[in-house]
Amino acid sequence: MNARPYAILAEFENPAAILRAADKVRGEGFRNWDVFTPFPVHGMDRAMGIRNSKVGWFSFIGGVTGYATGMLMIWFMNAVDYPILIGGKPMFSPFAAFPPSYELTILFGSFGALLGMLFLNRLPRLHHPLLKNRRFKLASHDRFFLVIQTNDPQYSETATRQMLESLGSRHIEFVEE
């Protein structure tokens, strides 16, 4: 049995307090930690030192794939595999093929954005130690939590707790694995 808890959880009352706390925790050099809020707090990415999200690349690759799929598909179907002459129009024209390809660009790009977001967040996930914690249910309601994992190299059972208390957290507890 693992004697060590999964993480230490500190509750804060308002976004300003958690923003200050996050700034401090990042400054102390912690690595395996996170902030849990009911809505994205403005300025939190900067306070935590999170770099620009990579979701855009997934969406971009999806969009390029979509456009290429549309153009190639229409060219193959109407000009190669089963050419039919319609009103003297060319067998393949990028202009007539543009609207469906445009829509496929958006379709694949959107799937890229959603699936890319889920992949980067490692979701869906059926189990998480925090989701078993009773207090943590308030993270989707009106409380703000700062969680430092015990496997962080900077973690110390007493000093980390003292630091979180000094940041103004009124409620601190350990989260079981």
Partner: protein
């Protein structure tokens, strides 16, 4: 002196005082009465919890009955053929296409609110975007039924998609009707994706509030293990922004492509270059009409007046005024081009096919009245004159007036589609070809039935999913702003 002043000159000049702006310049808050973020969760999620109110049960019973009528009409059509509809030479596109274009236009307001207003940083959208997006999805479902059933043998509907079949035939992509298939199916899919992604944090709210095992499992499954981690929020917000951008270019393209179904043809009344922007403006206009028709009663029935405030309704009325005026301009421009273009067939259509009413215009010009003059003037009355009432603040502030006017907008936009589709066809180049289209009872019941389908889904949506984006509304309150005193800041700006 305990603190060293960085600039000695400052000590001699009086300190700069920024006075608070006068009260009448301050914007009304987006959530009234300074409600906190916990209250928002309880109120919004509470709508989907507990047993449904009596009005919900009655509405649901009526909607399901009407939905059954819709499916029975489809069954009758399937077993008998399109002869049961009022279609006939020369009007071969009737109610089915009118209803398709109308419903798909309704959907556009949802995407405008969720995507374009998001890119424009209109924070008020957060109170209405979820319900409007749900409206979009259900409206597109209703719209999708009509092209499917109007092909006659709907069991071959899959031929519309590029799926290999035993004849080794492919769809013909030089036709705008094929573009339409891609536009509408992409629109439905992307709207559903965007809606679902917006729902993930709120499904987590529902999961964390769930009392029964069943609800915990159901909401937990669809929330996909969302925890509200800021590392997740960071990716989430980026994905949301990208989806908003993609949906913006999508929504502008969908009704443009629908309009190309008409404007690529050679028919007077359809062959018009103004159609794409005119259709998009009309779509947003009708969609906002529908959003108001839904939300004005709902905010009262569900006691959400503090979240969907009078200011929200007023802002939507202003959008109606703007888009209604664009639509009015497009009508005028169509008429101008019919005269200025010098095409006698087009001039005939606009004057003798649409506008010549039996009382004034036909008397003045000594012509026969247009057979569909009533449709044309209903359209003008509802789409051009009705929105002009929204110039008055008293009108925008009266919920009953807004509700009635929004229904008139819906009616007017339906007649616009009717005018475009039917009147352009009923008098073509040869007078011996002229005819008059009358819908049959099946046409009418089929159309009314789709309302049953729409409201069945919408009422189920109210029961199972938060109808307002909880996390997003929380994010626009002053309590959520770390630089606002209510958000815990010691000193702070006044911005909100």
């Amino acid at each position: 002196m305990t603190e060293a002043s960085p600039m000695p000159a400052m000590s001699r000049t009086p300190p700069l005082v920024v006075r608070a702006p006068p009260a009448e310049l301050e914007r009304e808050p987006l959530v009234a009465n300074g409600r906190g973020i916990g209250w928002l969760s309880d109120t919004i999620a509470g709508v989907a919890e507990g047993s449904p109110p009596a009005w919900w049960k009655w509405c649901f019973a009526i909607s399901v009955t009407m939905m059954t009528v819709c499916f029975l009409c489809v069954l009758y059509l399937m077993s008998t053929g399109v002869g049961i509809w009022g279609l006939g030479h020369p009007v071969m596109w009737g109610f089915a296409i009118v209803n398709f274009v109308w419903w798909i236009g309704i959907g556009h307001a949802g995407t405008l609110i969720s995507a374009i207003l998001f890119l424009l940083r209109q924070k008020w959208r957060t109170s209405i975007n979820r319900a409007a997006e749900a409206m979009t999805i259900f409206a597109v479902m209703c719209a999708g039924i009509f092209p499917l059933i109007h092909v006659g043998r709907m069991w071959y509907g899959y031929w519309l998609f590029p799926i290999p079949n035993s004849y080794r035939l492919w769809p013909q992509f030089r036709s705008p009707l094929m573009w339409d298939v891609f536009a509408v199916s992409t629109y439905f899919t992307v709207s559903a994706l965007f809606w679902y992604m917006g729902l993930i944090p709120d499904l987590a709210v529902m999961r964390d509030r769930a009392k029964t095992k069943m609800r915990k499992f159901g909401y937990g499954l669809f929330a996909m293990g969302w925890t509200g981690s800021n590392r997740h929020w960071s990716n989430y917000e980026k994905a949301y922004l990208i989806l908003a951008g993609l949906s913006t270019v999508l929504v502008l393209s969908v009704h443009s492509i629908v309009s190309l179904d008409f404007s690529v043809s050679q028919l007077p009344g359809w062959h018009t270059t103004i159609f794409p922007p005119y259709f998009v403006a009309g779509a947003v206009f009708s969609g906002f009409g529908m959003v108001l028709t839904l939300l004005v009663p709902l905010r009262r029935l569900l006691k959400l007046e503090e979240i969907i405030t009078a200011r929200h309704i007023e802002l939507m009325c202003k959008v109606l005024l703007l888009t209604g005026s664009i639509v009015g301009y497009a009508y005028a421009m169509e008429f101008f081009i019919a005269w200025y273009g010098g095409n006698p067939a087009e001039k005939h259509l606009f004057l003798n096919g649409r506008a010549a009413d039996p009382f004034v215009i036909s008397k003045l010009l000594h012509t026969n009245p247009a057979p569909y003059w009533w449709a044309y003037w209903t359209m003008i009355g509802c789409n051009v004159i009705v929105p002009q009432f929204f110039w008055f603040k008293k009108v925008r502030a009266s919920m009953i007036t807004v509700f009635v006017l929004s229904i008139l907008v819906n009616i007017g936009m339906w007649f616009e589609r009717f005018v475009i589709v039917v009147t352009s066809l009923h008098q073509d180049f040869l007078p011996s070809n002229w005819g008059y289209y009358r819908p049959t009872w099946v046409d009418i019941l089929q159309f009314l039935g789709t309302f049953g389908l729409f409201f069945t889904f919408f009422l189920l949506f109210l029961r199972f999913v938060p109808l307002i984006a909880i996390a997003e509304v929380k994010g626009v309150t002053p309590q959520a702003d770390p630089h606002h005193p209510l958000g815990g800041a010691k000193t702070g700006g006044r911005h909100s």
